[in-house]
């Protein structure tokens, strides 16, 4: 099992090196984190349209 992990690691290292510096620096900034609402909601009011204001 350990042997396989090591092999994975080597392949990964090679793949990262193939990627190159600029691709790695660009890639690290490409993620998106999305959080769903914590409670059910209908369409939220547009700014300034609050009938309870």
């Amino acid at each position: 099992m350990k042997k396989n992990n090591n092999l994975d690691k080597i392949t990964r290292k090679e793949a990262i090196q193939k990627m190159g510096k600029y691709a790695a620096l660009t890639a690290v900034g490409t993620f998106v984190i999305l959080n769903p609402l914590k409670a059910q909601s209908s369409s939220p009011p547009d700014p300034g349209g609050d009938p309870f204001a």
Binding site: I16, Q17, G29, F31, P36, S42
Partner: protein, 367 residues
């Protein structure tokens, strides 16, 4: 994996992240390393230490943000104030009757207009009794005298959402924990399957659904489209379609009796609203095989094009409630793998009807 993207779900935060294969490679290498030095050694044979450190810090912050614990505010116990039962209404949905008490005309406008067509005095036994009232600047929602939600009055859309959830549970005989989520979007069925229409406010999803509902399709849900865990189907939401003033002229010649529908004034910036009641579909629920990002653009040529999972998730997740239950998150991801994802740009109503009919036919032949 979806096309070029990976979608990860983090149980602790109930957050979804969309990443590219190169990012995944760096992340796996980071997680595999026992120390920062080991990670820097893996990546930095071809880059300087400061670039390597920047990558390492970005990955650390990504993991920190993805692992922020999911917490819900503690609801304190509140006793129902029955002295605020100033307005009483009953609503009957296919023989199932519910009772709602409101404290004022203003609070009544949060829920009543969308269900007004079901408001009939009935001698049926009520399945559930709701109380919605404003007290000390908070809106309260009770079901059978138990507090369901308490929010600041400015967040009235959360009371609307919670009420719809409880109404769906009552009508479909389910618990809140039975649902995968409620998507912010409208769903149309052709009697075999359904398509979920999503998009930013003002991009024409409700208008398009009203058009489709007036031309041979059935509205399954407007604004809040609920998906059940048991079968991953979208279920019927009886709320009428809400149409903003800007679409009145377009729909007037196309929707029967549009002119006689009452105008509701509630939200100042949304302007006048009309609620179009729709016929109930034959079944209560349908599988959903496609999602369409609606983009109404005046004078544009019709275009239905496939879009990435990233585009779709960036649109639906921040505006939808998704259950934090790991089983439900897995089901949501499984559903995404089977789903066709499109963006529809349109301006002309005739062409759009033909395009959606064609798509339904294609989808039905595949599933």
């Amino acid at each position: 994996m979806f096309g070029e993207h990976w979608v990860f779900w983090y149980a602790i935060s109930n957050s979804y992240s969309i990443i590219e294969p190169e990012f995944k490679l760096l992340l796996e290498s980071y997680l595999e390393s026992y120390t920062k030095a080991e990670f820097l050694d893996t990546i930095s044979s071809h880059m300087n230490v400061s670039d390597g450190t920047l990558i390492s810090e970005t990955l650390f912050n990504y993991l920190k943000d993805s692992n922020k614990p999911y917490t819900l505010p503690n609801e304190t116990s509140v006793v129902l104030d029955t002295s605020l039962r100033n307005i009483s209404k009953q609503y009957t949905f296919e023989g199932k009757t519910i009772q709602i008490y409101y404290d004022s005309e203003l609070v009544l406008k949060t829920v009543h207009p969308t269900l007004a067509y079901y408001c009939i005095e009935s001698t049926n036994a009520t399945l559930a009794t709701f109380d919605i009232y404003l007290k000390n600047n908070d809106l309260f929602l009770f079901k059978d005298e138990h507090l369901i939600s308490r929010v600041s009055k400015h967040k009235y859309h959360l009371i609307q959402g919670k009420f719809i959830m409880q109404l769906l549970c009552t009508l479909h005989d389910k618990e809140e924990s039975d649902w995968i989520g409620t998507f912010h979007g409208s769903t149309i069925t052709n009697g075999s399957s359904s398509i979920l229409f999503v998009g930013e406010s003002g991009k024409g999803k409700s208008t398009l659904c009203a058009l489709l509902a007036a031309n041979g399709f059935d509205l399954l849900a407007d604004d809040v489209s609920p998906m059940l865990s048991k079968d991953k189907h979208i279920y019927y939401n009886p709320s009428a379609i809400s149409i903003k003033e800007g679409a009145f002229n377009l729909l007037q010649p196309l929707v029967t009796n549009f002119e006689s529908l009452p105008i509701i004034k509630f939200n100042k910036t949304k302007g006048d609203i009309k609620y179009i009641p729709c016929l109930r579909p034959e079944e209560d629920h349908y599988p959903c095989n496609a999602i369409i990002l609606v983009n109404y653009k005046p004078k544009s040529k019709i275009k239905l094009e496939q879009v990435s999972v990233k585009t779709i998730l960036e649109t639906i997740i921040p505006d939808s409630w998704l259950s934090p239950n790991p089983k439900h998150a897995q089901q949501f991801l499984d559903w995404l793998t089977e789903l066709k994802m499109y963006q529809l740009t349109y301006s002309d109503t005739k062409n759009v009807l033909a395009e959606i009919s064609k798509l339904f036919k294609q989808l039905n032949s595949k599933f």
